[in-house]
């Protein structure tokens, strides 16, 4: 039989733990290395929390990561609270202050971010790269050509890097090996007397929309497609 027609044995991908047991169980171990994982969802649905938790688990394992921050919105205090080893995190902040001049469009910041991600993927050596487009409007994110995501998929595969996309709407389409949708799950009401702290009892939900690395479709026990997880703020931890 010609070699071209021989069936390739697909190796199960290496997985990075997300730092949340329920999520790891839903994803079959964590997010895959060497491919694109897309986490989409509206504002305040836990995308950044999820990404920080994953990066924290990876940096604690001794590997280096990068955070491409399109809107310069990462809070270093939150990153430290998520137990990220800050020395192992390369933070790339797009020029947000240029926005004041009126000459800078969101698209140019996005372009900078895409070029920076390209450079990071080509250089290699980073276990995970987060492309944070959470504040980019869907109409801007959808303008990114599909060829960019194809290029990223190949580069991530060669560099053995997990590329995490944080977006409001899915835009990488079939290039993403793992597509997740974030939803708000449970919200505890504010109390007027100050008894309940702000953001206390916050819960987020994550729905798995596609996982290309899933096991056999004929397997008996299928993992659930939705997982809920709690998150708490520093001030509620102190309580």
């Amino acid at each position: 039989m010609p070699a071209a027609l021989t069936l390739k044995i697909k190796q199960p991908p290496e997985l990075f733990s997300t730092g949340v047991d329920d999520m790891d169980m839903m994803l079959g171990g964590g997010i895959p290395r060497g491919s694109i994982s897309e986490i989409a969802g509206a504002l305040s649905t836990g995308k950044t929390t999820f990404a920080l938790s994953t990066i924290a688990a990876i940096t604690q394992s001794g590997a280096a990561c990068a955070w491409v921050d399109v809107n310069d919105a990462l809070s270093p205090e939150s990153a430290a609270a998520a137990n990220i080893v800050l020395k192992r995190l390369l933070w790339l902040r797009m020029s947000a202050e240029r926005r004041q001049r009126g000459t800078d469009k969101p698209w140019s910041r996005l372009e900078q971010a895409l070029r920076a991600t390209d450079l990071l993927l080509q250089a290699g050596g980073f276990a995970a790269i987060v492309l944070d487009m959470s504040d980019v409007l869907p109409q801007h994110a959808m303008r990114i050509p599909l060829s960019t995501w194809y290029r990223y998929r190949l580069a991530a595969e060669q560099a053995r890097t997990a590329l995490l996309l944080l977006t409001q709407t899915p835009c990488a389409n079939s290039c993403a090996a793992l597509a997740l949708r974030c939803e708000p799950a449970d919200v505890r009401l504010f109390s007027r007397d100050g008894e309940t702290a702000l953001f206390e009892g916050q819960r987020y939900a994550l729905v798995r929309e596609r996982n290309r690395n899933e096991g056999s479709p004929f397997q008996q026990k299928k993992p659930c497609t939705r997982a809920e997880w709690p998150a708490e703020t520093l001030w509620s931890r102190a309580r």
Partner: protein
């Protein structure tokens, strides 16, 4: 002038390494007398230390004959009539040493500064015969030059380095020792030329050993059994057989890592400049590689049209020996910070350091390769700006934005213990702060306008009164609300 050739059966053998040593006896006192010639005819001492606990360092011959000795206190020396007390001037001694150095350079390119006794230089005079004649003529010429510079000097030539030093210290004038006759030449010299410790000096004095010849006749084994390994050194020195490896003074290696180039016409584009920089970097790399080193810092100085200078520093996180990487870093740095005028002349300075060597493990976590990481960071800095690339370091501060950006240098891969704490809610920051429109009904927010979008307040808590003036409890000037949109 006193010149002596020690009678010996052997003659100077052609081709053997000979050392000429020039020594200025009582160096500090001679320097002081050179600075103030009126002191030559009077007795003076040099003192050092904080008054009143000053100690006599040295004295001239007239002062010594009056009874002054080194080690006396300044007050004791002051009680002796006719003795002038002066403070030692280290800066005068340093400038005098420069004069000695210059004169010594005229006689040999290879020389060593002998720290003890002060004011002593040793020269390797191998092959200098065609310029200065035989050893005696060279030593006499050397001494003559010192006299012209205002110093009374002793010169000695011997095959053994330390024998020449001892002879210059112990014999006035010029002494030339043929090879193999060092013990004979040192025989009558006093023991202090060997620079023994105070304890050993006292011991030798009690034994009745006063000259090098007397020490050389003692049995080496017996001497070592009594005073230890120091005895072996002193015995070999007294016989003129102590081996010495010369460490010649050399120009600083770092100063040699410079390249300059004048351009025929002003250059404004960076691309043609890179060809020249590549050649200069190559030359510098060859020099550092010859010493098994690498380049830690590269400094480019561009002399611009109009007399201004443009200086850039490329400092890789680890010393590099790779031309392509260094050149790429130079290019990216110059493209990020371009000069504002045409370039007339360029200089490239390098600082060397030991090259980095890392043993990678098979099972260690993934980490960026240092050389590639440097180029990547330089590219990213060019793309985003200097302050927008790096790791974050938190400051011990409660104010907002209490962090600073530091250069990204991940520590070696090492696993740390995972935290058992729950997942922390991540907050996002608006940089710079944005304007938000708020509609109030009855002094309570009901609608929020942000980035052209209108949000209705679904849930609200507050108001929380915040004081803008912590020193005035009455002035609660700010009201803050927690809202869910």
């Amino acid at each position: 002038m006193y010149a002596s050739r020690v009678a010996c059966g052997n003659t100077v053998v052609e081709g053997t390494v000979m050392y000429a040593v020039i020594h200025i006896p009582n160096f500090a006192a001679q320097v002081a007398a050179k600075q103030r010639p009126e002191l030559r005819k009077s007795a003076f001492v040099l003192v050092e230390g904080e008054p009143p606990a000053e100690v006599v360092i040295t004295a001239n011959k007239a002062a010594r004959s009056s009874g002054v000795e080194a080690g006396m206190t300044g007050l004791q020396a002051a009680t002796i009539p006719g003795v002038i007390i002066m403070r030692r001037a280290p800066e005068d001694e340093a400038s005098a040493l420069k004069v000695l150095h210059t004169i010594a350079c005229m006689f040999s390119p290879r020389m060593e500064y002998v720290e003890h006794p002060p004011g002593t230089y040793a020269l390797d005079i191998d092959g200098m015969g065609r310029l200065f004649g035989d050893e005696t003529q060279l030593a006499e010429e050397l001494r003559q030059r010192m006299t012209e510079a205002g110093f009374l000097a002793n010169a000695a030539v011997a095959q053994n380095f330390d024998a020449a030093v001892c002879l210059a210290q112990g014999k006035t004038g010029v002494s030339v020792v043929p090879p193999g006759c060092e013990a004979e030449a040192l025989r009558d010299l006093p023991l202090h030329v060997l620079n023994p410790s105070a304890e050993h000096t006292e011991m030798f004095c009690s034994w009745g050993v006063r000259t090098c010849g007397q020490l050389a006749t003692l049995s080496e084994t017996d001497l070592i059994s009594r005073i230890g390994q120091a005895g072996k050194r002193l015995h070999l020195l007294a016989r003129g057989a102590w081996p010495h490896l010369m460490f010649p003074l050399e120009p600083s290696f770092e100063e040699s890592l410079r390249e300059r180039m004048e351009l025929d016409f002003p250059v404004e584009m960076l691309e043609p400049l890179l060809f020249l920089l590549a050649r200069m970097t190559d030359t510098l790399l060859e020099r550092v590689r010859a010493r098994a080193l690498a380049i830690a810092i590269l400094r480019v100085v561009l002399h611009l049209d109009g007399g201004k200078q443009h200086e850039q520093l490329v400092r890789p996180a680890l010393p590099l020996g790779d031309k392509a990487t260094l050149l790429k870093l130079l290019q990216l740095d110059l493209e990020t910070h371009p000069p504002n005028a045409a370039i007339l002349r360029l200089e490239l300075h390098a600082h060397s350091a030991a090259p980095y060597r890392i043993q990678h493990g098979l099972f260690l976590p993934q980490a960026p390769e240092p050389g590639r990481l440097e180029v990547l960071l330089a590219r990213l800095r060019k793309l985003l700006g200097e302050e927008r690339v790096g790791s974050v370091e938190l400051k011990d501060d409660h104010r907002p934005n209490a962090f600073r950006m530091v250069a990204f240098a991940p520590p070696p891969p090492k696993k740390s213990e995972p935290s058992s704490l729950s997942v922390a809610t991540a907050l996002r920051v608006c940089r710079p702060p944005q304007t938000v429109g708020v509609t109030l009904v009855g002094n309570v927010p009901v609608r929020v306008l942000w980035e052209g979008q209108r949000y209705t307040v679904r849930e609200i808590a507050g108001p929380w009164h915040v004081s803008g003036q912590w020193w005035s409890e009455a002035n609660w000037c700010r009201e803050e609300w927690d809202v869910r949109l």
